[in-house]
């Protein structure tokens, strides 16, 4: 009999079927063939593929590419995931029948599984709005979609269009209707027992499970890494998943239209619910199966990376920080708050809010720890604000800019106060009297008055300062810092509010015509099966 080490290498050359056979020959081989390593390789080969996202999504790739080392313990059960995936594949056969033949079912399964496994980058098209990520684009531009526009993927899914009445007629009981409502609300967790479901709900159920298992595979792959590698892997997997989300939403549009058609036919007008959207369901599953499980680790790694970039002179890692923050923003936006994500007051969604709070807390400490006695303080703060503006949303940018200017004001105040105490009145330096008066009655004048209540000394010092360029700059920064920040962000906020109003959103980030109460009532009273 072969030694264990040799056998382990041999197993790498076998498929899951051959491995399973070997495992059934004796206990020793079973133990080796059950090991996570083999099943991970098989799972990746069969259902995930080692996506060369660096090639597919060239524009999002991080350069230089990270040489990623996987942790030894992946912490997941790859074999169980492979098994579940096969169970879904076999359950798919239950869809065969009057509506679809075996070949059509196989083709449908193949299309969906390939898209999840190896998503194609979405084709660029003219959009009403520009958004920085696939998911935000999907959310944002669905507000402007023309519902009468036909799906570009008709083919096999014509079946949905030609059988509206037949599919609808299968919804005969209240349990079917409530099943549909909970599906629309994404609160339905289907199982493999599909026998008594209407065909549409069987399809929904299998689709749900395929997406769910795909998310579980992604999670298992992501947790193989740690630190910056984890951020990189997460960013790549999420980009791939959101691309699949966009492609499947388009491909399965006839199915979502079917669900919404049944909802319209079967639910009374006064109990109308929101529309079913596939990307909302897919995002919910990703959040449950992937994001929420590693949210804390992701946030910690993002903050650590930011700290590393801050304390070094180079921008190495900045691209990864920006892309990772885009992922966090993606998980924080929804249809209601998306238009307000750049608003400095009305965007308080949770995953982002946590990083925002931490960022401010850490910035306070960072600025306190910095030694501003040298001449470089302006360069350090300017670089810090540049990074924040690239990676964070305006709410964080504003808060950190305010902290920076508060720090700058303190430094300027201390510099000027020192000069002022040493200054003795010699003359009023030649300068426009009106400009000198403006500065005397400005925050800088107030600062000097607080120190020494002598109008003539203050006037003389200001006229002296205005004759030197370095002082003029300090006076301006001291006087205008906060005023400039507020003006820029207030104007931006007003523009957002105006635009949102045009789209039917209130400044609280919800629709002007409130349906929330009805939605809540439905959730509590009908959809619980």
């Amino acid at each position: 009999m072969l030694s264990l080490n040799v056998f382990q290498v041999i197993c790498e050359f076998l498929t899951y079927k051959e491995l399973t056979k070997l495992a059934q020959t004796c206990k020793k081989y079973k133990k080796i063939a059950d090991s996570d390593k083999f099943w991970k390789n098989e799972a990746v080969r069969l259902f995930m593929s080692e996506l060369d996202l660096y090639q597919i999504y060239d524009e999002i790739a991080i350069y230089p590419k990270l040489a990623k080392h996987e942790n030894e313990l992946s912490g997941s059960q790859w074999k169980i995931l492979v098994k579940n995936q096969f169970e879904i594949k076999y359950s798919w056969k239950q869809l065969e029948g009057e509506n679809l033949s075996k070949n059509e079912i196989d083709e449908l399964y193949w299309n969906i599984s390939e898209e999840l496994k190896n998503p194609t980058p979405p084709i660029p098209s003219l959009k009403a709005e520009y958004f920085p990520s696939n998911y935000q684009d999907l959310l944002g531009n669905s507000l402007f979609l023309d519902p009468n526009e036909n799906s570009s993927h008709q083919g096999i899914l014509q079946i949905f269009n030609s059988n509206f009445q037949g599919f609808c007629a299968e919804f005969t009981s209240i349990s079917h209707i409530s099943m549909l409502i909970s599906a629309v609300y994404n609160t339905w967790s289907p199982d493999f027992e599909l026998k008594n479901y209407p065909w549409i709900m069987k399809f929904y159920s299998l689709l749900y499970q395929m997406i769910s298992i795909n998310c579980k595979f992604s999670y298992s792959k992501i947790v193989c890494y740690s630190g910056e590698n984890l951020l990189d892997e997460y960013m790549l997997r999420w980009s791939a998943f959101s691309a699949a989300m966009q492609n499947l939403s388009e491909f399965l549009r006839p199915f979502t239209e079917m669900v919404n058609y049944i909802r319209n036919e079967k639910i009374k007008e006064n109990l109308k619910t929101k529309e079913f959207k596939l990307h909302i369901l897919m995002n919910k599953l990703w959040k449950e199966e992937v994001f929420e499980k590693i949210q804390a680790e992701l946030s910690e790694n993002i903050l650590n990376l930011w700290r590393k970039i801050r304390s070094s002179d180079s921008d190495s890692g900045l691209n990864l920080l920006i892309k990772s923050m885009d992922c966090i923003i993606d998980h924080s936006v929804d249809e209601k708050n998306l238009l307000f994500k750049n608003h400095t007051h009305h965007f308080t969604a949770k995953p982002y809010k946590f990083i925002h709070d931490q960022a401010i807390e850490k910035t306070k400490k960072y600025y306190e720890s910095l030694n501003f006695s040298n001449e470089n303080w302006r360069t350090i703060i300017d670089r810090d604000i540049r990074i924040v503006k690239l990676a964070f949303l305006p709410a964080t940018q504003k808060a950190i800019e305010e902290l920076a200017y508060s720090k700058i004001q303190k430094i300027i105040a201390s510099q000027i106060s020192k000069e002022f105490s040493r200054f003795s009145i010699k003359k009023i330096y030649p300068y426009n009297e009106q400009i000198i008066s403006e500065y005397v009655y400005s925050p800088i004048g107030l600062l000097l008055f607080h120190q020494e209540k002598s109008v003539s000394k203050v006037r003389s010092f200001i006229s002296y300062g205005l004759s030197k360029e370095s002082y003029i700059n300090l006076f301006r920064i001291y006087n205008d810092g906060f005023r400039t920040i507020s003006t820029i962000y207030d104007n931006q906020d007003q523009e957002i509010e105006l635009k949102a109003k045009k789209c039917g959103f209130s400044s609280e980030g919800s629709r002007c015509s409130p349906t929330t109460e009805l939605e809540n009532w439905l959730l509590e009273n009908i959809v619980i099966i």
Partner: protein, 167 residues
Amino acid sequence: MFYNFNKIEEVKIRLRSAEGHICEVEESAALMSSFIRSMIEGFNEVTEVSLPNINSVVIEKVIEYMRHYKDKDPPIIKKPIISSKMEENTSAWDAGFIDADWNMVVDLMTAADYLMMIPLRDLCCAKMACKFKGRSIDELRAEYHIENEFPSEMEENLEFQHPWRLE
């Protein structure tokens, strides 16, 4: 005055087998083995390496492989293998080289592992995997003298655990 560099003889490394026989191989070919490379780099004057676990027949076979791939990279064998025939998984030369009996392949594999020659080790493992591919559980047990340790209920359970059996 012109030197004829072709005439300068390459340094040879002497490999001492388990039986004490000496097999000589050019240094550039021997460097394929990470084990020999570390010996040469670690001790400058080393020209003889003792291999007490490997017999001279196997060493000759290893040297044949080293000489063939002295100036080029061996082909990478795809995992998992696509066929039970070696010529469909790798180059014709590799397939011919590894076309040996089971014991020889096992010995070669052990030697490759010891000498830290990953391409040769992979070639041997792929050859062994070919022997498993496409065989039923009973055939595997009979060929490799494996006793069935599973009670019949457990065997049925193992079958049930593998949904891909339906494929």
